[in-house]
């Protein structure tokens, strides 16, 4: 049993600006924990979490693998989130290198085929297109959930790059909900990028039917 990261340093005022870990976060932690032995055996050297928010997930990855086993690199478009991610790493004794940027911008050319574990818990809630766009442009907490058409507007932008990013035995964990048309998404990634995928965990939480999908090269 790997303990859930200590988030006691984050206060209500932090959660005014940064997404507070919720059922989707915990499902992702559970999925990573189920894969813990496989992940350790891979000896990842570069773990990248996109949209790291509170930093809970990357701290948890660090607890699974060990603080000095991998580089834990994170990005978030919301600078408050970058700061929380960094603080959560410190609180849990996991060095996290947090970068404020959109998705993988500024990193992409240098991390091609270099990412061993890629993680994205995206804004997956279906909204109007304009709402998702404004949320990303606003670079604030709304960007943590507003997902545009089918909730896929932001996810789709990262999916374009996943195959470029993954190392030869790299894997990608994505959180999705039923409204994201998961089987279509899986089929598209197989046909366009030759990436295999598997739903590793799913759970109903209130109105959301949450999934964690794991992609890897076939």
């Amino acid at each position: 049993m790997i303990p859930t990261p200590d988030l006691s340093h984050l206060k209500k005022t932090d959660y005014d600006n940064v997404y507070e870990p919720a059922e989707d976060t915990f499902l992702l932690l559970d999925a990573l924990e189920e894969d813990a032995e496989e992940l350790k055996a891979m000896q990842p050297r570069l773990c990248l979490e996109v949209g790291s928010g509170s930093g809970c997930v990357s701290s948890f990855m660090g607890s699974i693998l060990g603080a000095a086993t991998s580089l834990y690199l994170t990005t978030d478009i919301n600078s408050f989130a970058s700061r929380c991610t960094s603080r959560t790493g410190t609180q849990n004794k996991i060095p996290i290198d947090s970068v404020t940027t959109s998705l993988v911008s500024s990193l992409l050319p240098r991390i091609q085929r270099a990412v061993d574990v890629l993680i994205f818990n995206p804004p997956y809630v279906p909204t109007y297109t304009s709402e998702a766009q404004e949320a990303q442009d606003g670079r604030d907490i709304r960007g943590a959930w507003a997902g545009g058409i089918n909730g896929m507007q932001v996810t789709d932008m990262l999916l374009e790059h996943v195959e470029d990013l993954l190392s030869s035995n790299g894997r990608f964990y994505l959180v999705a909900v039923k409204e994201n048309n998961i089987s279509e998404l899986q089929q598209r990634m197989r046909q366009q990028y030759d990436l295999e995928s598997k739903i590793v965990l799913q759970r109903k939480a209130g109105r959301e039917h949450l999934h964690v999908i794991r992609f890897s090269r076939s």
Partner: protein
């Protein structure tokens, strides 16, 4: 944290800036040294992903001259300890990183680089 391991992965991504946009140059930086756990296996595993010249130049810019100009073929313990220090223990806390091509300035605050671009600068 902007450690040299992360600096080694960041390139300018402003609109139209596609050549000579790496590595970013440090400007007016304050640094802190913080001890990190030494793991030679991690260093050996990460070495193929490092742009060596960029690392050596950045380390020298911050006053660390222990790394050889060429990545050695044989690694010994002394080399790995120097690499460990340069990559993982030097933290750029405040200042900026400047693109050598288009001079775009990316600020660093509380150890976090802000790579966001204004709307008209996005490619």
């Amino acid at each position: 944290m902007v450690r040299l391991i992360t600096h080694n992965l960041l390139a300018c991504h402003a609109k139209g800036c596609t050549t000579n946009n790496f590595p970013l140059q440090f400007k007016d930086v304050s640094i802190e040294l913080r001890e990190a756990e030494f793991n030679p296996e991690f260093l050996k595993g990460f070495m193929p992903r490092i742009e060596w010249k960029a690392l050596v130049d950045a380390a020298r810019q911050l006053g660390d001259t222990t790394l050889p100009s060429e990545m050695p073929e044989m690694v010994d313990d002394e080399f790995l300890k120097n690499l460990h220090h340069a990559l993982l223990e030097v933290h750029v806390e405040e200042g900026a990183m400047v693109c050598p091509n288009c001079n775009h300035v990316y600020p660093v605050s509380n150890g976090i680089p802000n790579m966001l671009l204004a709307e008209h600068e996005i490619a």
